[in-house]
């Protein structure tokens, strides 16, 4: 159990570091995906170690989280493409104006 | 001596449909190695049978295409040209392996491997015979689709790592095509899942066993929704395998060879192998889902042949149909391809799901036959009508030439 939680923590922090450090918008999205996956590890680990016998909620949370991640990726990447079309750049620190 | 006897006994049991064929061999070897031996026993036949089938298919395909074009086809190497595959294999093995200087070497090297491994993994869940499923996974169908979705990534890796614009265009075309056709493929398979209520491929195959006393086996292809689902599944599988008429990722006329343009020698052979193995796997899945798996078509034939013979006979038939289609149809255009997937295939598969639901809910046989047939035929006609005006050509008029 400690192993999974530690793995999840490390994965989450790798994702967080990526989001904070990289300039490219898509890399930030990759970091967010990693953080979501870190949460998924927790869901599965807690499901496996939960006390209720037929409780599958951890697994369902994980499946729903995957679905949400897919939706997030689709919309997020569409936004990135849209921004690129407008500004010809997807560097996060170059996108500083609030006006399109 | 003991293991050899066990192996022969295992082989005999596997070939004669007896339950638990692995047992005699596993009992003859030490306890510690049993799980490893079991894995080898599952994998080795797949690795032997399907590449051989691939080799035979390449020869037969070329002969068949030749005959369709009123030619003889390969007839030089071996008896009637049947050893052509050995010549081709030796040639690809001994050819120089050229990697472009600008290519991303690691990804370029990994791409063919990343294509072949998932395709081989998909065979793990197909039930080839009554007791011959390598892994009887509870979520077998999901496993099949999950693993086969990794091939798209391999295709992209190949196209991108070659650093060639034609490769990249071919890869993007292939990926777009595979993603688009994966939806109808999965939806068509789902109708069967709805009826059987299981994702296990062995259970789906077993559900189509003929009941004693009946005449025709209850294959799903013999129902209206099953027939439509089967046709849609085959079209989608054809597109997934990048086969003619959907082979425009490798359209010679505009992008030369598509994503494996910069591959030569053995890596090219691996791509070729992967493509055909993917075709076999899709056909095997279609057989399992719609054509009754390893069951005989009529109840009275059930005991005549071992179950795997039925499976491979159906597989050979489907491969022949694929070759026949390849010999007949010209390549479609990109917009036609996408239009077919999104405007026709997906609505049709969704309606097939509805029809399967109706079939499940409606009580009496004549009523559900009529309702499902009417629904699907009507949808087919209407969607066909909506699509057809695009393909209807008038008489060609030449304005300037005589």
């Amino acid at each position: 159990m400690t192993f999974y939680l530690a793995l999840s923590v490390l994965l989450f922090c790798v994702g967080l570091a990526g989001v904070l450090a990289r300039r490219h918008a898509i890399m930030a999205l990759i970091g967010i995906e990693l953080m979501l996956n870190a949460a998924n590890i927790n869901f599965i680990a807690f499901w496996r170690h939960s006390s209720a016998a037929d409780d599958l909620s951890g697994m369902f949370w994980m499946i729903f989280s995957v679905a949400i991640a897919a939706a997030e990726a689709a919309v997020g990447l569409a936004l990135v493409i849209l921004v690129f079309r407008h500004r010809r750049s997807v560097r996060l620190d170059e996108l500083e104006s609030l006006k399109g | 001596m003991e293991p050899l006897k066990g192996l022969l006994s295992t082989l005999w049991k596997a070939l004669t449909d007896q339950p638990d064929p692995k047992a005699p061999f596993l009992e003859s070897i030490p306890e510690d190695y049993r799980s490893l031996a079991s894995a080898v026993l599952s994998v080795a036949p797949i690795l032997m049978v399907f590449p051989l089938l691939f080799a035979l298919t390449t020869v037969l395909e070329r002969k068949g295409l030749g005959r369709i074009q009123n030619r003889l086809g390969p007839n030089r190497v071996g008896p009637a040209g049947f050893l052509q595959f050995a010549a081709d294999g030796l040639k690809t093995l001994t050819k120089e392996d050229v990697v472009p200087r600008a290519a991303d070497r690691v990804v370029h090297f990994l791409a063919p491997i990343a294509l072949v491994i998932p395709v081989l993994l998909t065979f793990a869940v197909l039930p080839f015979g009554r007791n011959l499923a390598p892994i009887d996974l509870d979520a077998g169908l999901l496993f099949f689709f999950a693993v086969s979705s990794a091939t798209e990534l391999a295709v992209f890796m190949a196209g991108w790592a070659s650093r060639n614009k034609y490769s990249l265009l071919g890869a993007l075309r292939a990926v777009a095509q595979m993603v688009s056709y994966e939806i109808p493929l999965v939806l068509a398979a789902l109708s069967v899942v709805m009826i059987t209520g299981t994702l296990s491929l062995s259970a789906i195959a077993a559900a189509q066993s003929p009941t004693p006393g009946s005449f025709l086996a209850p294959w799903y292809v013999f129902t209206p929704w099953g027939l439509m689902g089967f046709l849609l599944f085959m079209i989608a599988a054809c597109a997934e395998a990048n086969r003619s008429p959907f082979d425009l990722p490798e359209g010679e006329s505009e992008i030369i060879a598509g994503y494996y343009l910069e591959y030569s020698g053995f890596k090219f052979a691996l791509f070729f192998l992967g493509e055909y193995l993917g075709l076999f796997a899709s056909s095997g899945l279609a057989i399992t889902l719609f054509l009754g798996g390893w069951n005989a078509p009529f109840a009275f034939m059930q005991g005549w042949l071992p179950s795997w013979v039925w499976f491979f006979a159906k597989l050979a038939t489907l491969i022949a149909v694929f070759i026949w289609i390849r010999g007949t149809l010209p390549r479609v255009r990109m917009d036609q391809l996408m239009g077919l997937a999104w405007k026709f295939m997906i609505p049709m598969t969704l309606l097939t799901l509805v029809a399967a639901g109706l079939w499940h809910r409606l009580p009496s046989a004549p009523l559900r036959w009529v309702a499902c047939t009417a629904l699907l035929a009507g949808a087919f006609l209407v969607l066909g009508r909506v699509l057809m005006p695009r393909t209807r050509h008038g008489r060609r008029v030449y304005r300037y030439a005589d």
């Binding site: 400690t2 192993f3 939680l5 793995l7 923590v9 490390l10 922090c13 990526g18 989001v19 904070l20 450090a21 990289r22 300039r23 898509i26 999205l29 990759i30 970091g31 995906e33 990693l34 996956n37 998924n40 590890i41 599965i44 496996r48 006390s51 016998a53 037929d54 599958l56 697994m59 369902f60 499946i63 729903f64 995957v66 949400i68 897919a70 939706a71 689709a74 919309v75 569409a78 990135v80 493409i81 849209l82 620190d93 | 799980s35 894995a39 509870d138 979520a139 999901l142 496993f143 689709f145 999950a146 990794a150 990534l153 990249l168 990926v175 993603v179 994966e182 299981t198 994702l199 296990s200």
Partner: protein
């Protein structure tokens, strides 16, 4: 799935998978070439799928492989190719405050690791050592979890339509409308 094909101790497999996941995650954020990053991300996702399979969550593992590798990965690659052309980034690939960001992440990692190592939860033994059948999952999904399922379906539909609308090519001004 139990213990793999070869009788290898479970711990070794776990360590291998964990190492694979972490290394590929780091690589997927550290490399300059965006396509390499995406490919390493796929390796990471496959490692996670393997981990789930190893934890007897076969359904979850397969969903992970199907959705992340088959769908998210492909969209990601398309997005990369549609924006930067898939090449190596020019200039620095790190933001201006990257030291602060990584420092924050490391601090958080230490804090969370400390919390995890002191947690009483972690001593619980694994209960679910048998994988739930797909039938069980399906039945539960269609009874107890029906509302979340439908909400997710709605969300996915909305996301799909939204993504299409966002990424749709803006209609070019027609000729007769231009001044």
């Amino acid at each position: 799935m139990e213990g793999g094909f070869i009788a290898m101790p479970t711990d070794v497999i776990l360590w291998i998978l964990g190492g694979l996941i972490l290394i590929s995650a780091v690589m997927s954020l550290a490399l300059r070439n965006l396509i390499h990053c995406a490919l390493f991300l796929m390796v990471c996702f496959l490692g996670l799928a393997g981990l789930y399979l190893h934890l007897n969550a076969v359904f979850s593992g397969l969903v992970q492989a199907l959705v992340y590798v088959g769908a998210v990965g492909i969209i990601l690659i398309f997005a990369i190719l549609l924006t930067e052309g898939g090449g190596t980034e020019t200039g620095s690939h790190l933001g201006s405050q990257w030291r602060t960001g990584i420092g924050l992440a490391v601090l958080l990692a230490f804090a969370l690791l400390g919390a995890v190592s002191n947690s009483p939860q972690t001593t619980q033994a694994a209960r679910h050592t048998e994988e739930p059948t797909v039938r069980e999952i399906g039945l539960k999904l269609m009874t107890d979890y029906l509302l979340p399922l439908q909400t997710i379906g709605l969300l996915l539909t909305a996301a799909a339509i939204g993504a299409v609308v966002l990424a749709m090519q803006e209609p070019k001004p027609r000729k007769d409308e231009t001044p």
